[in-house]
Amino acid sequence: MRNMPNSKKKQLKAADKKKIAATLDRYQRDGVMLVSILQDVQAELNYLPEDALKEVSQGLELPLTQVYSVATFFKAFSLKPRGRHLVNICMGTACHVRGSVGILEKLEQELGILPGETTRDYRFTLETVNCVGACALGPIVMVDGKYHGQMTADKVDAVLKGYE
């Protein structure tokens, strides 16, 4: 596997543990809110480290198996460190017919990674999505939630340059 971040186990810092505890308290430590809690924890820690899932499991008094099942079920959760910037390329029907495949290839070449992977310098994570609801602007590349419409392979370089 090329350019995969090494999966060395991350030790949670005391500050991270505090963040997780605060998140759990915000949801009254209610196991029903597991998905929302994991979303918030991922937003704070950039991904879901093994120890974070263990903290959540203990904090909610839920079996670790259940937390791990949920964390691995949804594509929005990542158990591996992610890049500083998330690049989403839309592969929905409208973007597809307007040439998003060529743009994806260009992104893969530029970043040297495949969808789902992260660059070695942790600058970018690349993901595909199937429609971001702005078909008229297609093909679309989203970086950190910002829409870049009417993309072409030639514009890829300029867009990526804006993110350090």
Partner: protein, 243 residues
């Protein structure tokens, strides 16, 4: 609870509300194949082999008999062409997933399924993802040491992080309930080795104070002592050496 009358394969049967078609059929010696069903745990409807046809008037639909509760006047057929077609397709898919499983092979023979049209999975284990092991572990044992993880074609039975599971008490219930024999348990010397499709774990066995035999996993005995509130030395002797 109310008594209802239903018909299965032309036989008029009495049953109680809340019972499922599969339960009533088995009580009356009517055969319906099923892999993911076990009366020790809640019905789950994963293997799709227990499909039967229920009809009312001139319409009929396919349902999973392990989940469908009986009602008054229900007419069930367990052996129609439509039912058998579904069971054969399900078996064909299971056979492609687990070509090495003797249980699936036998089932295929029984239903007249030949070589599957689908590409068989290679180097595969015998797991059909029916979750019977994980349900037994959670509902019966109360350990929740294993679960189904990931999604879609990547779905697997595993421990959290595919690592040694701290919650596992090495009791072997998972291996016992597995319909296809996908989990192996081997006791050698002072060690119990549990081999699951994606994880292998080793556990220490407890030695009998009197005869010196290794007779049960330490974690399982500790679990029982805690659950039943027994004195800590309750299992120092093996059953043979106990008074």
């Amino acid at each position: 609870m109310k008594t209802v009358t239903l018909t299965i394969d032309g036989r008029e049967l009495q049953a109680e509300t809340g019972q499922t078609i599969l339960e009533v059929a088995r009580d009356n010696n009517i055969y319906i194949p099923a892999l993911c069903h076990n009366e020790a745990v809640a019905a789950y409807g994963a293997c799709r082999l227990c499909m039967v046809e229920v009809s009312r008037g001139d319409w009929a639909k396919l349902v999973t008999s392990c989940l469908y509760e009986v009602e008054d006047g229900l007419v069930v057929k367990t052996n129609t062409e439509r039912v058998n077609n579904v069971r054969r397709l399900v078996t064909e898919l299971l056979l492609a997933r687990c070509p090495d499983s003797e249980v699936i092979q036998d089932l295929a023979k029984e239903l007249g399924v030949g070589e599957p049209r689908f590409t068989p999975e290679e180097g595969n284990h015998k797991c059909i993802l029916c979750a019977l092991c994980t349900r037994a572990c959670q509902e019966v044992v109360g350990a929740s040491a294993i679960s189904l993880v990931n999604r879609g074609v990547n779905r697997q039975m595993a421990t959290p992080f595919y690592a040694f599971s701290d919650a596992c008490i090495a009791c072997g219930s998972c291996a016992y309930v597995c319909p296809t024999g996908a989990i192996d348990i081997e006791d050698a010397g002072d060690t119990r080795k549990i081999t699951m499709p994606n994880v292998t774990m080793e556990f220490k066995l407890k030695q009998c104070k009197t005869c010196g035999a290794y007779w049960a996993p330490e974690r399982q005995l500790a679990h029982i002592i805690k659950q039943a509130d027994l004195p800590p030395d309750a299992f120092d002797d093996c059953p043979d050496c106990r008074e």
